[in-house]
């Protein structure tokens, strides 16, 4: 390298408690998504730890982290990440099937009903509006009964009105299931709904209430 090392994140330390909601905010390039990726164990830091129930994610190998995600994490993405070839129902069933759940279809159907999409289970992503796609993603995230839900700009691809509906739904589900919620967002309205806000600037934590 020779030159000064580039730190994407530095001196970032915080805790998230069961049932708590937290927003990670900051400008583009401030390191929000990188932080989320690390919390999820999708990426490995050059230094540092992420403890889940006292267990360091990075003591596990990639497959171990995957198993941990399968057991306790739910995800919602800005670009929805629905598989285009599958129907809404099949998309929600996917993580359940991977976990070996035998009643995957039943559970998935129930969760689609909770997000108000019982009439659209057979529809493919391309046949759904952006808001509906994100509802499917929410149903998929909560179907596995996660202990922590990680959301990356969940309203970033939606208009204000639809975004607000999705936020309401997400918090409602979260309350009902008692999961911890970590949201990366630009959206001040969304950030305001969370109990805590972490602000990142240049990879450093500038506010940790």
């Amino acid at each position: 390298m020779g030159e000064e090392a580039l730190h994407i994140l530095a001196d970032v330390s915080f805790s998230v408690y069961p049932g708590e909601s937290m927003a990670i905010i900051g400008s583009s390039g401030s390191g929000k998504s990188t932080l989320l990726g690390l919390i999820a164990g999708l990426d490995v830091p050059s230094a540092g730890r992420v403890l889940l129930d006292g267990e360091n994610l990075f003591d596990l190998d990639e497959d171990g982290r995957a198993a941990l995600r399968g057991r306790g994490m739910g995800f919602v993405f800005q670009s929805f990440q629905l598989l285009t070839g599958l129907t809404a129902l099949e998309n929600v069933m996917l993580p359940l099937e991977l976990a070996g759940q035998t009643n995957a279809a039943e559970v998935a159907r129930a969760h689609l009903e909770r997000v108000g999409l019982s009439g659209r289970v057979k529809h493919r992503p391309a046949q759904l509006s952006g808001g509906e796609q994100q509802r499917v993603a929410l149903a998929r995230a909560f179907a596995v009964a996660p202990r922590i839900l990680l959301a990356d700009e969940p309203t970033g691809n939606l208009d204000a009105h639809t975004g607000a509906q999705i936020i309401d739904l997400m918090f409602e589900l979260n309350r009902a299931q008692g999961a911890s919620l970590v949201v990366v967002t630009h959206d001040p309205a969304l950030a305001a709904r969370c109990r805590r806000q972490l602000r990142l600037d240049g990879g450093r934590l500038v506010a940790n209430p």
């Binding site: 995957a66 198993a67 070839g85």
Partner: protein, 829 residues
């Protein structure tokens, strides 16, 4: 894991995700199996066709009566059995005698092919299943004409009299040797004893004829091999008729070539389709990892899914292939006249295996690269596209894939050299082509700047997708290469076969013309409208010394050379080099040269005779010597009179000699010869029409079969190219949607697509034409043993055909995309 992978597979099927892939692989397998099925049937038919010339599938020829144990074992194995015994003897009718080929046959003869008979000499004939009964004889037209015998009359053979009941006009089992060319008398084998002609020391050729399934024949072959005594020899059509063997071998090699190239096409198509499939699964892979699936589990899941897919595609393709060849052979069976036997099941197994092998061979490497896709891709799409170094596992999988394809190639080629040349050739072509295409793509960006919007978009697109373009051009090149190569080799083959027996080749030989008969025979021929019949002197001589060394058969290890050393040659005098001879070394006679020899190159090699050697002959007690002036190459299958050794005119003036001539007599004038035999009773007329017709008939049918396989592979090649272009359809739809959203008119887009396809076609055509020229040359020399002259048209066909075909296929693959509303296209995945 299997139920889950099957569920995933079913879902992807419903989603239409894998339909294109399945279709591409099924198409590839269908092409492979239909060529294999069809080739298999044609091969079997060609084999049987040839076997009619042997009258059996397998024969044991012997110079003595064969141990009945052989026939017993053959019957035990379920083979059909018959036999014949043939010898030369005098036949008598009234006061006339004739040296005839007498053949006694057992019931069931011939086991393959059939006999044809006519009610009178030179009359119209018809096939028959009957055989001469006890006390009956069938004569051929020549024997009847020369003996002045009629149907209903009698012929004497040795001590027995026979009633002539038919004129035999066709008999498959007639080799090219002299005994077979003698006038024929056919009787029942049971009557042979009565003639008293077959005794201790008689020269009789016995043949045990066998026919049946390949398995039983193979078992018999193995069983009998070590039990054959001296003078006993197993014969199949390959041993019996070398000139036919060459034709059949070449035809089978061509079928092999078509099959091998189809493997290459199938591999290219599968690769294109799978590449796209795996790319589309990057997102899914990252997402499933995110949901907690382990790497091993996912790879296993995809592996199962692909294996299932391969099996399904194999099944579908093999079925499709079977139906295709069925329709094809039904449509063309009439034209072929080969009476194709039912296809064996082997190609079906080949199809299934090929489906799985192709999918796994081409899916494994990109599948293993999936393991490198970071889960972070769900947050950052730019992670985990193709590129970067390959994991060791992927390289290994590439090797396994290549080995599988190579295995298929070897299996299909049925000829190691052919497989090596085509396999190696294709690999070489790919390496050169990748480099060439990359270099040619380089200046595109600069070129594109000077072009109108449409072509600029098209060319820049090609340039930007550099590696993708290279792969696509490569797949298209392989498709075109297969087409061009098959065209070139087919051309060489057909040319060679067409020239094998030229129209108007001599079909009658007249031997035993005495010196004083030369002028009257010439007059007779001229008055009967037979021209171009040169009378050649023929002098029987024995070679006694080369360069002063006595010629002894035991000095030559080679059987042919020993045979040549002990027999008498027919020498002749030649004024000029005959038109079907080629001077290989030395010079033709100097003006006024009166001694010296011109020697055929094959016999010179066998007997170790070199240019300038002094040869000494014994001509009925008179010495004849001289030096070898030149060596000649002779085309023996031209059916003209040719000699191993000849002298300048006049060198053998004092020697005892007879004359020989050959000429072409149109079939409808065959009866004229009865007049010649009447005018010159001592002459022997040999009719080779039947031999020529057989050869010509066989070449015609084999040519048609080759043409058909060629046409078939051609169609498959076009289909595969279409599949390659379809593989980018979804991306192209998005591109078109984006361009249209940004304001491009349909005209501009059409121009963009046209210029992209034209350039792709040009690249592919360039590579294919170059590669086809080189490979055709190598194949002609190394595998087909054919004269090959470079064909400049191939460049025109390659470039023009490449551009035309790919423009057409591209238009077919994209024409509806221009009509889609841009929004729909943008949402398409």
């Amino acid at each position: 894991m299997i139920p889950l992978s099957l569920r995933f597979l079913a879902r992807e099927w419903r989603a239409g995700e894998i339909r294109v892939l399945l279709l591409a692989v099924a198409l590839a397998v269908a092409s492979l199996t239909s060529v294999a099925f069809f080739g298999d049937r044609v091969k079997q038919a060609l084999g049987r066709e040839a076997n009619t010339l042997l009258a059996a599938d397998l024969a044991i020829a012997s110079d003595h009566a064969l141990d009945p144990g052989f026939a017993g074992e053959a019957r035990r194995l379920g083979l059909r059995v018959s036999s014949s015994a043939a010898f030369l003897s005098m036949a008598r009718a009234g006061k006339k005698n004739l040296l005839a080929g007498i053949k006694g046959v057992e019931p069931g003869y011939p086991l393959r092919g059939g006999l044809r008979v006519a009610p009178a000499p030179f009359a119209a004939d018809a096939p028959t299943r009957a055989l001469p009964g006890s006390g009956q004889a069938w004569l051929d037209s020549r024997a009847a004409a020369e003996l002045g015998a009629r149907v209903g009359g009698e012929v004497e053979l040795g001590a027995a009299r026979f009633k002539i009941t038919q004129i035999i006009t066709f008999e498959g089992e007639r080799g090219g040797n002299f005994m077979a060319l003698a006038p024929r008398v056919l009787i029942a084998a049971a009557d042979l004893d009565r003639t008293g002609l077959v005794q201790e020391g008689s020269r009789v050729g016995y043949r045990l004829l066998l026919a049946g399934t390949d398995d039983a024949l193979a078992t018999f072959r193995t069983w009998s091999g070590p039990r054959l005594a001296r003078g006993e020899k197993l014969e199949d059509v390959r041993d019996a008729r070398p000139e036919l063997r060459q034709i059949l071998d070449k035809a089978q090699r061509y079928l092999g070539l078509a099959a091998v190239l189809t493997v290459v096409l199938a591999a290219a198509a599968t690769h294109m389709a799978l590449r796209r499939y795996v790319q589309r699964h990057f997102d899914q892979y990252a997402l499933l990892r995110c949901f907690g699936a382990s790497q091993r589990r996912l790879i296993g899941l995809y592996f199962m899914q692909l294996a299932g897919l391969g099996l399904a595609a194999g099944l579908l393709g093999a079925t499709l292939g079977w139906f295709t060849q069925l329709v094809l052979t039904n449509l063309l069976g009439e034209v072929l006249r080969l009476g194709l036997p039912a296809a064996s099941w082997q190609p079906f197994g080949l199809g299934l295996l090929a489906g799985v092998a192709l999918v796994l061979a081409f899916a494994l490497p990109p599948l293993l690269r999936l393991a490198r896709v970071p889960t972070l891709r769900v947050l950052r799409r730019e992670f985990g596209n193709f590129g970067g170094p390959q994991p060791v596992g992927a390289l290994f999988a590439h090797l396994v894939g290549l080995a599988l394809v190579a295995g298929l190639i070897f299996w299909q080629a049925g000829d190691t050299r052919l497989a090596l040349i085509v396999g190696g050739g294709v690999l070489g072509v790919m390496a050169v082509a990748v480099a060439l295409i990359q270099v040619l793509l380089w200046p595109l960006a600069r070129l594109a700047r000077h072009l109108p919007a449409g072509p600029r978009l098209g060319l820049l697109g090609l340039r930007q997708r550099g590696w993708e373009t290279t792969l696509q051009a490569l797949a298209l090149s392989l498709g075109l290469l297969a087409l061009l190569l098959l065209t070139l080799v087919r051309g060489d083959l057909l040319d060679a076969w067409r020239n094998q027996v030229p129209a108007g080749a001599p079909n009658r030989f007249v031997i035993n013309i005495q010196p004083q008969q030369v002028a009257p025979v010439q007059d007779w021929l001229a008055s009967n409208g037979i021209r171009n019949a040169t009378l050649h002197p023929m002098i029987r001589a024995r070679l006694i010394a080369i360069e002063g060394r006595p010629v002894r058969p035991e000095d030559y290890p080679e059987e042919r050379a020993r045979h040549l050393a002990e027999r008498e040659f027919n020498l002749s005098e030649l004024a000029e080099l005959p038109p079907d001879n080629e001077l290989l070394a030395g010079h033709w006679w100097w003006p006024g040269q009166t001694s010296g020899f011109t020697v055929e190159d094959g016999i010179a090699r066998a007997l170790h005779i070199r240019l300038g050697d002094k040869l000494e002959f014994d001509v009925g007690g008179l010495p004849l010597s001289g030096h070898v002036s030149n060596l000649r190459k002779v085309e023996w299958d031209s059916f003209r009179v040719n000699f191993f050794v000849a002298t300048p005119p006049g060198a053998m003036r004092a020697m005892p000699k007879s004359y020989i001539t050959s000429f072409h007599l149109p079939p409808e004038r065959g009866a004229v010869l009865a007049g010649m035999v009447a005018a010159f009773p001592n002459l022997t007329v040999i009719d080779v029409t039947q031999v020529i017709n057989e050869l010509r008939g066989l070449t015609d049918r084999v040519s048609q079969a080759v043409q058909l396989v060629f046409l078939f592979s051609l169609g498959v090649g076009v289909l595969v190219m279409l599949a390659a272009l379809y593989s980018r359809r979804a991306e192209r739809a998005r591109e078109i949607g984006l361009w249209r959203t940004l304001g491009a008119s349909k005209r501009t887009l059409r121009a963009a697509l046209a210029s992209e396809f034209a350039l792709l076609g040009l690249l592919a055509g360039l590579v294919a034409a170059g590669a086809a020229s080189v490979l055709a040359w190598v194949l002609a020399n190394q595998v087909f043993d054919l004269p090959h002259s470079p064909n400049p048209w191939i460049w025109l066909f390659g470039l023009g055909g490449g551009v035309g075909l790919i423009l057409l296929a591209g238009w077919l693959a994209t024409r509806d995309l221009l009509e889609e509303p841009p929004l729909k296209a943008l949402r398409m995945e």
